[in-house]
Subunit: 154 residues, 2 copies
DNA sequence: ATCCATACTTGACTCGTTCAAGAGACGTGC
DNA sequence: GCACGTCTCTTGAACGAGTCAAGTATGGAT
């Protein structure tokens, strides 16, 4: 796996360094991990990396297209390895959990706005907001009827 | 207009205060304004309001459903008055400019994911990323051919 | 007019992220 | 295999949006 990442780095014209390999490993192990989680994951392998190194790696890898950075409203930045397949995300309003959702259209931009105000559009990002299974069962466990959605701010 | 906002506040069960009216006015005058811009707008009418008051107003009004808060990745929070019509946004990658885009579907959630991982979904938020007319003409003004999209990170 | 809950003021503080300067390591060319 | 130049990492400080907390003021019900 690290061998894989090694090749991937090289073919993107990036230097192969331990922190970068560890960052790729960490994101691979925990998709949608935020920077703190990535840092923690990296430090399992390299206990002394600086947080700055992780920030640098994450932005270098993101710029090279090896990572994708997502940031739902109210959340810190999160990263994932799955790039180039134009998929989307479901986000839990309660706990912030993120899950992948395949794009039913396929190619980016997967949607076309009716009025574009003269913008040149290259991507349509879709975020589904809702409640994850865990939080659903925790907030409405007593009734068998359809759960009432508690939308706190909308 | 302030008369309008007065009524709107009352019918939402919120106290009518000068800062709140001024916040509504400011957002009305500058749709998609960030907190700093709202604060500046409010201070035109009320030079001594605290930034905290503006934060409090914005969150109270958002919670009451009078304002909608949007936060594209990498941006600070922005606010708009247009609520309840399930519209979306186009965001310029270069300057951060935001414009409204009507939802072609109509009702929320306007899209349904193919796999929902057990999430109870109540909203689909769509953000179109691209380049606004001003930034387009600034980066590719010399050719008459189709502009090359410079996607800096993806 | 009085009173209480809510809203605002003031000022400090948190946390994710970025900046800057110098030490260290990757990899190319010899 | 070795030296060199450039990119990357370490260290430590700083920034800015947003939040917390305690006390004062004000809206609106009685």
């Amino acid at each position: 796996m690290t061998g894989q990442h090694d090749t991937v780095l090289r073919s993107s014209g990036l230097r192969v360094t331990k922190p970068r390999l560890a960052v790729l490993d960490a994101v691979h192990a925990h998709p949608h991990a935020d920077t703190a989680a990535v840092l923690a994951g990296v430090r399992l392998a390299l206990p002394n990396v600086s947080h700055q190194a992780v920030y640098d790696c994450l932005s270098a890898l993101t710029e090279a297209g090896l990572l994708r950075r997502i940031q739902p409203a109210g959340s810190v930045a999160r990263y994932e390895l799955r790039v180039g397949d134009n998929h989307h995300h479901v986000v839990c309003r309660t706990c912030g959990e993120v899950a992948d959702v395949d794009c039913s259209v396929g190619a980016a931009p997967c949607l076309t706005p009716t009025t574009d105000h003269g913008f040149v559009i290259d991507e349509a990002e879709v975020v589904y907001w809702g409640t994850c299974p865990t939080c659903s069962s925790r907030t409405a466990p007593l009734t068998q009827t359809a759960p009432i959605m508690k939308k706190e701010s909308r």
